[in-house]
Amino acid sequence: MSSQQDGTLLKVLLVDDDPAEHVLLKRKLKTAEDASIDLEYVSDIGGAVERVKAGGVDMVFLDNRLVPNNDFRETAPQLRSAGFIGPIGIISSDISGRYFEKFREFGVDFKIGKDEIDGTVINFILKEYTLDQLSETCSEDFL
């Protein structure tokens, strides 16, 4: 069950300065079983802030490196400052940097390599989310 209890689709916001990542994620969501989500895309953090302020976003997939920012430590707090309280997951081609270990300090709920994202993972994340908030176990599993 990947939809919410009231039957509406989950609204997932992808924030990535590379449009190709939007194309790829859309394709993965299509192939994922029971992944009934509504994927929205913005290419910069400014757009993402505006979008979460507008409301209706259930979860954010945030690219680690959004030009001209250095990494999520500069962008994730902007979403929290905008009042977004839903799960934020950092996605990146490389999550081996040591600074990723402190992701919780910057308002991030989980991190995941872009290479790891496939239908199974998305389903797992969504199921965890639909139970309530994303549990810590989820993020730990992906460490």
Binding site: A20, S43, V67, G97
Partner: protein
Amino acid sequence: MRLPVSPESLLHALYETLPDPVMIIDADRKLIASNAAASAVFGYSAEEFLGLGPRDFYASIEDAREVGRALFPLDKATQTLHGQYQFLRKDGSIVTAELTANKILDADGKAVALVAILRDISETVAAREEHRRTESILNTALASISEGFIIFDKQDRLLLCNDAYFEIYAISAPAMRIGATFESIIRYGVAHGQYADCGKTEEEHEAWVAWRMERHRNPSKPYIQRLSTNRSLLVEERIAEDGLNVGVRTDVSILSQAKNEAERLGQIIENVAQEVYLFSLTKDKIVSANKAARDNLQYSLEELRELSAADFIAGSAQDEMNALIAPTGSAESKIQIFDTMHRRKDGSTYPCRVRLEHMEDPDDPVALAFVEDMTERLEIERALKQKEHEFETLARNLPDFIVRAKPDTTLTYVNEHYARYVGRPADEMIGRKFLDFVPEANRAMLIEHLASLSPEQPLRTSEQAMPSLTGETLWCLWSNLMVFEDGKPVELVSVGRDITQVREAQNRIARQSRELELRNNALEQFSAVVSHDLKAPLRQIRLFADMIAEDIKLGKAEDLATFSGYISQRSEAMEAMTSSLLEYSQLAYQRINPEKFQLSKALNEAWTNLSVNVEEAQASLIVEKDIDLYGDFTLLTHLYQNLFANSLKYRRQDSSVEIRVEAQTDREGHKITVEDDGIGIAPEQAERIFGVFQRLHADEKLYSGTGIGLALCRRIAESHHGSIHLDTSYRDGARFVITLPRQGAG
């Protein structure tokens, strides 16, 4: 028996010849007759006696009354009286006599007169008195002498014993009763622990008692007896002519102790390593010499006693020796100390120091000589002098500062090196305070430093900056050692080592470590960026290729062109990145080949290389001032080329570009600014733009590039020991400030 004379004649003869005074007294107590002896004793003539009354005879009236009451009147029943009374002579002297009075009866038996016979006992009384007085003196004498005195009679029973004896044998005292036998007394003493040497067992006690009794009965020489009270007694016993056993005990504890101590002292002197001699000054001979003296001189004591001092003192004339050992009257010259040579029996000699002390005994003046064989000492002194010389040589040649001082820092020694540093002769510094030569700024610290030295922590070190005479700063590592004796400071030894070069090396290493850390951080970031930016397009290429394959399998063709377009785009990006990395790696870590050239030459070269872009952007270059640079021409040209390329790329749309270069040189080095009138860079990005693959603009169509140009610029500037940064105060475009050292790339 019948006598040839009549009784009257006989009585008369007796009366007259009796040596004792005889007087006849009538009923009225008047003397009516006396014999010749009475006149002789009392000094009265026979006529003078007649009519004398009792008051004329008795020395005391009480005696006269007593006798009168006993015999008078004559009809009293008392017939006779015998008593001792004192009588007066004619000359007033007193005579003590025994009075025997008998009444004379008539034919009727009536008492008519008294006959009194007086026996002069003055001498007897005097003898008794003398005896009593003598006995008293004896007792007093016995009581007053400290020696114990005791007498046993022939039956060995205690007859006399003075207080001292009781006090000496306090434990045995209860047994010392008059009449007690000697054996019973010593057995009591043995049983109660009186004697120290009587043994512990019953058998030992018996044996000791038997031995003691034997000595008591047959006394010979005095001997020392030890008591359990730590007293030593000299026991002297002898049998007197009348068979009495007289014993005297003298406490010789002190003497024994003194004897023991004297024996110990004698042993010590005998065995000390120093030679000790005793000379008789009158005989000029050795009286005694200890073992060290005998061994060193190789003579026996008997042989030495035949020698005079001159016989074994080498090289001294007899007169000289006589003068040395001659008795003196003054106290000052009683002790003489001199160095000489002793000659052994085998003829060999050795140097020695003699301390001669004259003992001014008038009977037999002697001299006591303590002789120290100086052979070893002189060798040690020679070795010490050699060591001192070596130390001085070492201290003189050591590059360190060496200072010795009293605890209050009064200098006692400074080596030449420190004296040169201070700029004074070493001799002038001796006696002055160490602190006087310490830089003012370091004095408080040194005082605190020295005050903290203790027997537990006598050494402390500190690094101090010291101005040299030439004005340069010298760094010195001072080690201050306070020498303590019995907990009190006696000397300060300070050694200072010039560590200027070491410190510079440490600073250089620290600086290099910091640089290395920065470079490592940069390299880490570089690795992360490269890893990310190279992985991302590869992953996308793989995914799009998979999607194409899936769609073809499913017979779907509508997205294939899009997917393949992404693949091409990502491939091109990869290619550009790898080219940039190659360029970076080739230039960033290239060996510097410094040369001297003009700035304008490098700028022209860079501008020419970008001629196509320059033309496209309608750009112009303005160089305000030309300067000489010393560095790698190729790399610095590349630096300016990258800056120009950035200015051309990030220009305002539909506007020409003007790039202005200014240069100036001052004491610190060259400062070159490159500014443009383009879109500029946000101040918060001032540092990030110098990172590898850092781009500020995602729009590839508008601002293409790999984001490696400024990273390369910084690398080239730093490799020349210079820097590059963005002037964040500049608002009309972007302005980069490059600094380069005057001496070139070092």
